[in-house]
């Protein structure tokens, strides 16, 4: 078989990635595993934002609220009511989805800057609740003492490797779900809505319902991230539902590219890594990152993943023929 068959590239890359991800705890240090866990749960928040921005052209400033609602519910149900696993995470995700159902009724009719403003207000509402309902949320100091569960006799709290696989399992499930959703007739309809709402409405599609469902699905993704955040850090405070947390996810999505799930994870990965690396090198790391964003927005508006894709599309032929040539010369 020809090694340069373009249809083989995706499965080969996917297999390599799977092997790498499954063997990561044995290949790298605990620190790297910890970073990957962080990238995964923040990546879910970014994906949630990218899903709405990419599929519907709507930028939401309240995805962190769903992330935080799920986290807070895990914290409250576990520390205050001592409910056993898996009730707290399932209830947390359920409540975040319900909240999305409620807020969605208000937000989804708005478009463009009005959607941005409405989600900003609703997000701030959740933040104010987290910060000021101190009897329940312990105010600005937040809730501590959240422990990751014991799964099949393995404690995710004590072992980073167990936690890593627990999160990898959920993360892969969500990625698979979003990818399937994007390819489904529902996903195609959403793209139709993004192209032209009027056309979709004229063809008899319930545009508002489609937008509403997309908003709920996006919240679900953010909520899964929030559960793992609470479990991994053992702490939840109003910062996790704040505008800052949402803007960080927005920056990650701009960096990686909003149109692909891969871009969301890549952007989060780069952002979180730079956060650690640059802050160790200089105190003015925020300034360095600001300049970097400026460069990205000016020269690669589709983000790193988007630009890489464009370059790949442009030079695909050349690269494949180069690979094919390599194959031929390698044979005796």
């Amino acid at each position: 078989m020809n090694g340069s068959d373009p249809r083989l590239i995706k499965p080969v890359l996917a297999s390599v990635l799977t092997v790498l991800l499954l063997s990561l705890p044995w290949l790298t240090s605990d620190y790297f595993v910890m970073m990957t866990i962080r990238i995964m749960y923040f990546g879910l928040l970014t994906m949630s934002l990218c899903y709405l921005a990419g599929e519907l052209g709507l930028v939401s400033l309240m995805q962190a609220a769903f992330f935080g609602i799920a986290g807070y519910f895990v914290a409250i149900l576990q520390t205050r009511y001592s409910l056993p696993f898996p009730i707290p995470p399932l209830a947390g995700i359920g409540v975040a989805v319900l909240a999305a159902g409620l807020f969605g009724l208000l937000a989804i009719k708005a478009k463009g800057v009005y959607f941005l403003m409405l989600t900003l207000v609703l997000g701030q509402l959740v933040w104010a609740l987290a910060s000021q309902w101190a009897s329940m949320t312990k105010g600005d100091s937040g809730i501590t003492g959240i422990y990751a569960p014991v799964l099949f006799g393995f404690s995710a709290e004590k072992s980073k490797t167990v936690f890593y696989f627990f999160q990898l399992f959920a993360f892969s499930g969500v990625v698979w779900f979003l990818a399937a959703l994007k390819r489904s007739p529902f996903g195609l309809m959403l793209r139709g809505v993004r192209d032209s709402e009027t056309r979709m409405a004229m063809l008899g599609y319930p545009v508002m319902l489609l937008r509403y469902l997309a908003f709920i699905f996006a919240a679900l993704v953010a909520a899964v991230g929030g559960v793992f955040f609470a479990y991994f850090t053992g702490l939840i405070n109003p910062h996790s539902v704040s505008l800052t947390a949402n803007v960080e996810a927005l920056m990650a999505s701009i960096l990686g590219g909003i149109n692909t799930l891969f871009g969301a994870v890549l952007g989060t990965g780069i952002l979180k890594t730079l956060d650690v690396v640059l802050s160790g090198v200089t105190e003015r790391y925020v300034l360095v990152m600001g300049v970097m964003f400026l460069v990205i927005i000016m020269f690669a508006p589709k983000g790193i993943a988007g630009s890489a894709r464009q370059i790949w599309e442009a030079y695909k032929g050349k690269m494949l023929s180069f690979l094919a040539l390599g194959n031929k010369t390698a044979k005796p």
């Binding site: 007739p185 139709g192 056309r199 004229m202 063809l203």
Partner: protein
């Protein structure tokens, strides 16, 4: 007499204060092609929009489709009853490929017997299969029209509403559209065809209505209509 598939009576339609359709009475029976003709601005498109309940049009009167009164329904409910719409200007989506247009429309397919599938519309329009991975914005006018028809067909409608399908097409493509219309009615589908191009539609019609200033001023069988037209020309 058997009940009509679509029965419109006493229909008044308004855009704001503008009274566009006035006391329209019209029927489409199973498996027939009904032609609505009239010059620009006579209310033909408004008639289709009234049937499909598009929001800016306000309606009064009765529109019964397959025994179901639709005058208080929303567009997506009406569409789900089995009305396929081939809009004027085709209304395709640039970011979706031909196949994606068909896949999402097919998800709304109704009934147990799904006569129209992706495969059967590709059999009807082989050129669409060749262009299945091309975006909706990069098709020729004829291909766009075929896709618009195919997209309506995969929902397996009982009535197809076609708004000026010959607009902007070459003579050869118009002939193709006519052949498709004939094929569809012979397979039992009803079509309500709104046209300005009388030459295109004349031979197809089982019955015809002429609209003038939002009113039906003429209603005859296709044969009578063709005979009348000959007489007028002579």
């Amino acid at each position: 007499m058997p009940e009509s598939l679509l029965q419109i009576s006493g229909l008044d339609a308004y855009y704001g204060k503008s009274h566009v359709l006035q006391d329209v009475k019209l029927a489409v029976n199973h498996g027939e092609l009904v032609l609505v003709v009239g010059r620009n601005g006579m209310g033909k498109t408004t008639l289709l929009r009234s049937i499909l309940a598009f929001p800016p049009v306000k309606r009064r009167g009765s529109i019964v489709f397959e025994g179901c009164e639709t005058s208080r329904m929303t567009t997506h409910r009406v569409a789900a009853l089995g009305l396929g719409y081939v809009p004027q200007g085709r209304l395709l989506f640039p970011s979706l490929t031909v196949e994606e247009h068909l896949r999402f429309a097919a998800s709304r397919s109704r009934g147990q017997e799904k006569a129209w599938t992706l495969k059967s519309v590709y059999d009807l329009f082989p050129e669409l299969q060749q262009r299945s991975q091309v975006g909706g914005g990069r098709l020729s006018g004829g291909e766009q029209q075929m896709l618009a028809v195919a997209r309506a067909l995969v929902t397996n409608p009982t009535l197809l509403l076609m708004d000026e399908p010959s607009e902007g097409l070459s003579v050869q493509v118009i002939q193709r559209v006519k052949d498709v219309c004939r094929h569809l009615t012979s397979s039992g589908m009803a079509i309500l065809l709104v046209e300005q191009n009388l030459d295109m539609a004349l031979n197809l019609a089982d019955r015809a209505y002429v609209f003038l200033n939002g009113q039906v001023v003429y209603e005859e069988s296709g044969e009578e209509f063709r005979a009348d037209r000959k007489r007028v020309r002579a």
